[in-house]
Symmetry: D2
Subunit: 375 residues, 4 copies
């Protein structure tokens, strides 16, 4: 039942439907003493905002966040932080035919059967708009992490068959990130963005959609973050990423490729490095060993299915007036992105931030030595 | 800190180290009234047991389970079920050189840095032996699910480049499952098993190891199991699967492939079917829509890295007597599987069973109608 | 850190400070299919509202609740229900001297030392206003319980030494409840209310305050609700009640008195009753045996300390400009109830409702028989 | 369903029935680096052991604890600690008549109706023997707290009408504690012990039982431990204490008495003290303000009902062969303490230790300043 909270220590609860009056998040467990303004959050929300290009839905929401609690004179107080975003551009009448008809590839049928009732307007709770609340919460986690020297960055890794080469992803720097954030595709290269744009435009013309993938990396991690044996860092990260709609696969490090490798190829060699640290000569593991951070950069890849809302006629089912299923044909109307990926980049980044910050808080009690520093 | 419990309603807590006196699990929240004997559990444990073939570690453990509580006169009572397996074949002296040296690809370094102390013998808590406790718990979940008409089956999908064709995986039946469970590789085909055996033998000769993948399917699911928005069924399944050591990727349904598809290809058409049900003409989604079961078979693939313990000399680090890291070379001794996958098949099956049963319990409160059936 | 959520299944998260823009609650896990309007909630909020009499604070808040999500066409959808109440009557300037001075009997010092920062205006997060959010959430639980035949009622049991006789509490009926809810003291008897009013008036004149107690009863409970061994129903109820500010003692059934009784006096005799039920000839246990409901009415008593805000000069400490504590004298200004109890009655009722409904949801998985009714 | 785990960070899961093969606890989340031997635990278990006097049950259990995991070379490793105590002195045949008859004042009826099945032997899961597992876990929490300068002590405060004066409780020192632990009643005074012994002996002769109360105090607490607004320290302490069988009331500080006081009497004056601390001139609040520790000693009182097992004939119900309730008369046999209190003293102490240590771990993330000390 209660599945709208994520995290054990930095606990994020989201609420709201696509066409309700508002949506938001309550963050409980944010440590006190973090400087925080609504601008910190807004800059993340703006990266997710619809209506910024011809490639995305034409729904135009300002997505202005309001901080309702937990911040006093620009600093977090340790009390729950309540964030709210008013919905302003609902076109609910576009969805009239979806009250009794179930869109293929969507959650509609499952909501109907699970709850016996659903808000069908714009997907209701299962709308991508819910991720605005995640982004607002994640912006806070990201800011807290930054004060501890931990940075998280995500970019688009592929759209359809337009794929960013691994070398580019492995070597993201400020320049390539800046490029990515300035381009509609959020790919870290202009010519790839051109190819992706062409592909998406074709999809739109053909009333179709396309999938893609996102790459996310975390740098500056201390060693040992993540909790064996069930709350390993890769396990909670994949939980976080798979909780984003449309994700169908998650890889850590080299992911699927390692299943064809030998141990002698896949093991990352360790060497003693400066300042009492350990360096890894390769990073097949993607920064996680035994479910804990190894200090090497964490590497995550998330794969998204194509937007299920397409504008072609589709075979599906509806419920008739007797509550029985009937086969029917549906042509979806309204406003929908032909590809989810570019707007999901910041969502992946934010879910990663929430997960990593929660894990850092959890690790504080790992040894008596830590307690003695505080008490 | 506390990461050894999985599940919210059917709560499994595992404990134990590879070379301690015993390991076990406590299952809290198992409904009363389920017939249960130690044989029910033993049959699952036997599928995971080491020492059953030349392909696996020669450590020979009987893995005999003892039920210490929660079962009365052969039926669960609703009280916590405590299961214990005594360790009997520890060769701790094999691990003497690992007290201060950290094995590449293993959790050693992370344990040391996180806790400041570790039981290095046989990997301690991070040993694959810990999964015996998961299998014992999962056997109970699987039995409970079976009484509700839900079945879970897993087989090996690949070892190195020896891959079971998709058609075979999509059409697992009693005969092919029986074949799989009779073969060392746990592949559902004798000739593929021959090829895999050859590959593994070669690995062993070359003091190397190899990765692989596991396919798991769940049939008989009701619609709507899984909790939006964070505890979606795919999210909790991936959490469960990634919590198994050595997993580096998880796919649901067509997984990564969907990222290159168009929506018109990927959407599964729905049709009204007999008995008031809905049928899906394809199953790209792998039985999960919007994070809830759709009633189509659930399809999961887990990808495992090669066993990090290989018998070649490897570059790594140790801690010297001053507690500083030094670069060194290590040659691992002891008993290790050259491939983890065949023994992990039942672990994937059991973690899936635990996750699905937990989700079924969670869903009981989804609507007032359900409460009125009970109160 | 994260302490603003209560409940495992019906999960209530409250947020908001006394002098922030708003306060509210998110309820995750409310079953779908419950008819719900803002009037249902408002009627509970109105019972807690300040400014309704000369006996309470003169802060005048309309406490109008807005339902922001989780309800569609007047029925709960199973999605999180977000409730918001705007603050409209903050007089923050009244609290200027409390920025660095810590009020005796209040949470001020603890907040300062725990978080290093606090919103001192009106008590910030520790203000009694936070309970408005609990009442809003509890109104939903109470409505759900009522549809299952379970009713919860609370009244004032004492104010200072003005005490409602046990017989009156044991025999609350619609008439006496109606009386209670019409009187400022919320006592179920007009002459006792007169005595209490006199006492409170005297307190106010003497710039002092007084304590009291609240009685709450739950009828219509099925047998067996509550989870041994740690989440017994009395344990979770006392957790819920003690989480209300100013509570210093909780009794179940005869409470403290039983510690002087013999077993032969205290054991409640059971007899076979109509309709396959069991009746109890007495109810010393207060409806809970072994931590589970017995079907007899549940009886809870909560004892509240006098309002710590009094208008006499008090010895206390402040922090000087170097961050050091100094002894000082404080005279509190602003608006404060001379007794908390009458306004806390509905809070006790609502926390009880939340706890009981959560326990009913938890109990759904108690036996396989229940699962078979649903799946 | 799953109610056998207590704590969020220092998580204690108990398992086992009175007449099963064993009982135990798994402690997940104990920080690494705490020296721990089985003797540390045994010394607490010995304080709870049955059979040590004519005043207690004659069941003679050695209650020898075995540490099965989580401790390596005498130090905790951060991995789950599994503790087991074998049952050795079960006389299950004593309980034959209780298979279908429900003892007044016991959990029998509720277990039967909740689960549809129960292990009736010796009370099964609801037996006081379950508390041995709590004591074993609590001994670890108490040892960890001691290394941080926090001490917890409990004594008997009353048995029937034999009551330890408040001055004696308020001034417990090593001498009076030593006295208490040497006496059967666990009262800190020999003459009171004599009076209590006389009372208990009379109860036994009259085939009756008697109630009593326990006082527990925590010293050395830092300021600010406990989590507003629902997991206040008094709320979690009362949850912990009420989860012990037979508890019917809990008081913090002056408890019930404050409900008759004025604010001017009840507020504890604060003064600036040495070393940058604050001192309290009185301690009516019992060391907790706003649900957080104030640094003054924490004072808890728990009230226990008389042992429900008495040897007189009692009116009750049984289930006949058709599963219907029938009125009947029952005379209980077996071994039962005429008063629970003396053996429960260490249980109260241990549940307090678990709660306080869990709260200390939770508080580690209260401010960014704490994180910067560790990361």
């Amino acid at each position: 039942m209660a599945g709208s909270t994520f995290g054990k220590n930095f606990r994020v609860t989201t609420w709201g439907e696509s066409h309700g009056p508002a949506l938001g998040a309550v963050i409980d467990g944010c440590p006190a003493g973090l400087p925080l303004t609504s601008e910190d959050i807004q800059s993340y929300l703006d990266r997710r905002k619809p209506g910024t290009s011809s490639l995305t839905t034409s729904r135009s929401e300002s997505d202005t966040v309001e901080i309702l609690s937990g911040v006093y004179e620009g600093v977090t107080t340790g009390c729950p932080i309540s964030l709210m975003i008013r919905n302003t551009s609902q076109h609910s009448k576009d969805y009239g035919n979806l009250r009794t008809t179930f869109r293929p590839g969507h959650a509609d049928l499952c909501f109907e059967e699970k709850y016996g009732i659903r808000d069908h307007r714009g997907g209701g709770r299962s709308s991508g708009r819910e991720t605005a609340a995640r982004v607002a919460a994640g912006a806070i986690a990201a800011k807290a992490l930054k004060t501890l020297g931990i940075e998280i960055h995500a970019v688009t890794a592929s759209i359809g068959n337009v794929t960013v080469p691994a070398e580019l992803l492995d070597n993201l720097d400020n320049a390539s990130l800046k490029t990515a954030y300035s381009l509609h595709s959020v790919m870290p290269d202009k010519s790839l963005d051109d190819a992706a744009t062409e592909l998406i435009t074709k999809c739109r013309e053909e009333k179709d959609s396309v999938g893609g993938s996102i790459y996310c990396t975390v740098t500056g991690m201390p060693v040992g973050i993540g909790e064996p044996v069930f709350d390993k860092l890769d396990a909670t990260l994949s939980h976080a990423i798979f909780s984003i709609g449309a994700v169908k696969a998650v890889e850590i490090g080299d992911g699927i490729a390692v299943s064809e490798l030998n141990g002698s190829e896949n093991n990352d060699r360790m060497r003693a490095a400066d300042e009492g640290k350990v360096s890894f000569e390769t990073n097949h593991a993607g920064g996680i060993l035994g479910g804990m951070s190894s200090s090497a950069p964490i590497k995550i890849k998330a794969y998204f299915k194509p937007t299920p809302s397409i504008f072609r006629p589709q075979e599906t089912v509806c419920k008739n007036e007797n509550g029985k299923f009937e086969s029917t044909e549906l042509t979806i109307e309204g406003r929908h992105d032909p590809v989810i990926v570019p707007r999901a980049v910041v969502v992946v980044e934010c879910m990663t931030a929430i997960t990593v910050f929660d894990a850092l808080l959890e690790n504080m009690g790992s040894k008596m030595e830590h307690l003695k520093k505080i008490y």
